[in-house]
């Protein structure tokens, strides 16, 4: 069963075709890599998937918690549909503690009213207690529990990345979009990240799409890879297939390399 189907998706900014006529389909439980040179349209593609941009044409169909099409996509609704994302330049709530960052991640799953919060009705205590416990468990899984009261901005870079992923998981997604999770990490940290992502898929039963420039990570981790160049999808397939693909080599190394 495919969780995400994209038909002829395009996005133009004025005369620039940032994403051009892309069609693909992704199955449940896959780890997908999106690669391509800078400016190839990968992040634009993510922003289309999460409703930050409206497509110029084409359609996006999700089959996660329920069926969702392009017109329903709004950033603040995607977590309700079962989609979570992280950002290329980490977007944590810097002035808040690690715990509070994570608690906001649970936002879409909570539902007591404002009156319940003001009058401190039983539903308030019950929900807050459950959320706090769940957040504690999640932090423990990510080895961040001893830092729960630290401000997010004071964490080392690698842990900020981890916290952002944990926060995305708090919304209980079915599909996780990671935008350059290994950016700025050293080889050791990247290796740990690979294990982390594999563990996440198993533990949370997710489909994962990630944008990444670190080829060792992409080639070892992803089951299928889509290659973007100038907004076009130039190749797709397993890591072995993609590595041999002429158009991929051309996009990365130029014409003469062939």
């Amino acid at each position: 069963m495919s969780v995400l189907t994209i038909n002829n998706l395009s996005k133009n900014f004025g005369g620039i075709k940032a994403v051009n006529d892309i069609s693909l389909s992704i199955e449940h439980g896959e780890i997908i890599g999106l690669i391509g040179p800078n400016g190839a349209g990968k992040t634009t593609f993510f922003n289309l998937l999460t409703g930050l941009y409206t497509p110029s044409s084409g359609e996006i169909i999700y089959n996660l918690k329920k069926k969702v099409t392009t017109k329903d996509l709004k950033p603040h609704k995607i977590t309700h549909y079962g989609i979570s994302r992280t950002f290329q330049n980490i977007r944590l709530f810097n002035g808040m503690t690690v715990m509070d960052n994570l608690l906001i991640g649970f936002h879409s799953g909570l539902n007591y009213g404002i009156a319940s919060a003001i009058f401190r009705l039983p539903s308030y205590y019950k929900t807050e207690k459950e959320t706090y416990e769940e957040a504690t468990r999640l932090l423990e899984k990510f080895n961040l529990l001893d830092k729960k009261d630290e401000l997010a901005k004071n964490l080392p870079y690698g842990e900020q990345r981890k916290l952002e992923i944990a926060r995305a998981l708090a919304a209980k997604p079915k599909l996780l979009l990671l935008d350059e999770p290994a950016a700025g990490m050293n080889p050791q940290e990247t290796k740990e990240l690979k294990e982390l992502i594999e563990w996440i898929r198993k533990e949370f039963d997710l489909t994962i799409i990630l944008i990444e420039h670190d080829m060792s990570l992409v080639m070892n981790l992803c089951e299928r890879i889509f290659v973007f160049d100038y907004g076009n999808l130039v190749a797709s397939g397993t890591p072995e297939e993609v590595q041999k693909n002429e158009r991929v080599i051309k996009a990365y190394l130029g014409e003469e390399a062939l």
Binding site: I114, S116, L196
Partner: protein, 321 residues
């Protein structure tokens, strides 16, 4: 926690009884009482604005306009229609909140300076409207408003304001607002409907500004549109910044400190504004986060989660070097 709660309620009641007793005995004379009432009203205004500016991060320069709406509503309800005060207070809050929603929906799309200018403009619109409406006295002002406000009313409303807003902040709704302040886009991708929460914070802040306006009107017999001008908005903002953006104890302390300072300085009118400005300058230089920074009332989590050891713990090695 039960004990904490009893102590807290006991403290709130004790302060009330103490001040009321001092008023009855005559140690607190009418001049001192006037100052206490003003402090209470300023606390309500500052805590409300703190929700909008300090917690949600929406810079508003029109808070006095909501106070004005509340003040005139209350004046009409009590003086013209002869309705009971409690109804007037409530109606003032509701109408101010409705105005907040109405103005919030279009302007809260704006950010930072643009929002400040838009709210500033809104404040002027309300002032000009009041100036030109004869029914509520126009430029001459609104006279003969019954005096209902006393220590009891001000104290009750102040306590309600502080309790409601601090409880709101400690719910997931409040966390959503705090998220908007930190990073609006990230908050949106966490499932926070940012427009809704910005308007909500605006509405709650305006509600209490309306209540404050109502208390103000029914204490001073007389109001005029210029009482709620731009400078009043700035005064409230100064309290919030002085006390600490995002700190309710800070707003309370700020309102008390600034009221006391300006009362003392009334004896030396020539130097009053100079010293007042110097104090503000000093605070901003030496404590830019305000008196209390971001500190909150102590919040003890009642629930200590039991961590089940089995199954947890990630098998990935992470070296925190």
């Amino acid at each position: 926690m039960k004990k904490d709660k009893i102590i807290k309620i006991g403290l709130i009641v004790a302060i009330y009884i103490l001040v009321q007793a001092l008023i009855n005995v005559g140690i607190i004379d009418s001049y001192l009482e006037l100052n206490i009432i003003i402090i209470g009203i300023n606390i309500i205004l500052a805590v409300g604005l703190n929700l909008i500016t300090g917690f949600t991060g929406q810079f508003s320069l029109g808070h006095a306009a909501f106070m004005s709406i509340g003040a005139y509503t209350s004046a009409v309800f009590t003086a013209k229609l002869g309705l009971p005060f409690i109804l007037a207070i409530f109606a003032s809050g509701v109408i101010a909140a409705l105005a907040g929603i109405l103005i919030g929906i279009p302007t809260l799309r704006l950010k930072g300076d643009y929002l400040a200018i838009a709210t500033l403009g809104f404040g002027e619109i309300i002032r000009i409207l009041a100036l030109n409406t004869d029914y509520i006295g126009g430029a001459i002002g609104f006279n003969d408003i019954p005096k209902y406000t006393n220590w009891t009313w001000v104290y009750i409303m102040t306590v309600i304001t502080v309790v409601v807003i601090s409880r709101f902040n400690r719910s997931y709704h409040g966390r959503a607002c705090a998220g908007i302040k930190e990073d609006e886009i990230a908050a949106e991708f966490m499932g926070v409907n940012t427009t809704y929460y910005k308007v909500l914070a605006f509405a709650i802040g305006s509600f209490f500004a309306g209540v404050a306006g109502s208390l103000y009107t029914n204490y001073f017999y007389f109001i005029k549109p210029d009482s709620f001008g731009f400078m009043k908005s700035i005064d409230i903002l100064v309290i919030v910044v002085f006390g600490g953006m995002g700190s309710i104890p800070g707003s309370i302390l700020g309102a008390i400190a600034l009221s006391v300072i300006s009362t003392f300085l009334q004896n030396i009118p020539e130097l009053r504004m100079v010293i007042y400005s110097l104090i503000l300058y000093g605070i901003m230089v030496y404590r830019p986060m305000g008196l209390m920074g971001k500190s909150e009332f102590k919040f003890k989590l009642k629930f200590k989660p039991e961590l089940k050891k089995k199954g947890g713990r990630l098998n990935v090695s992470v070296n925190n070097k």
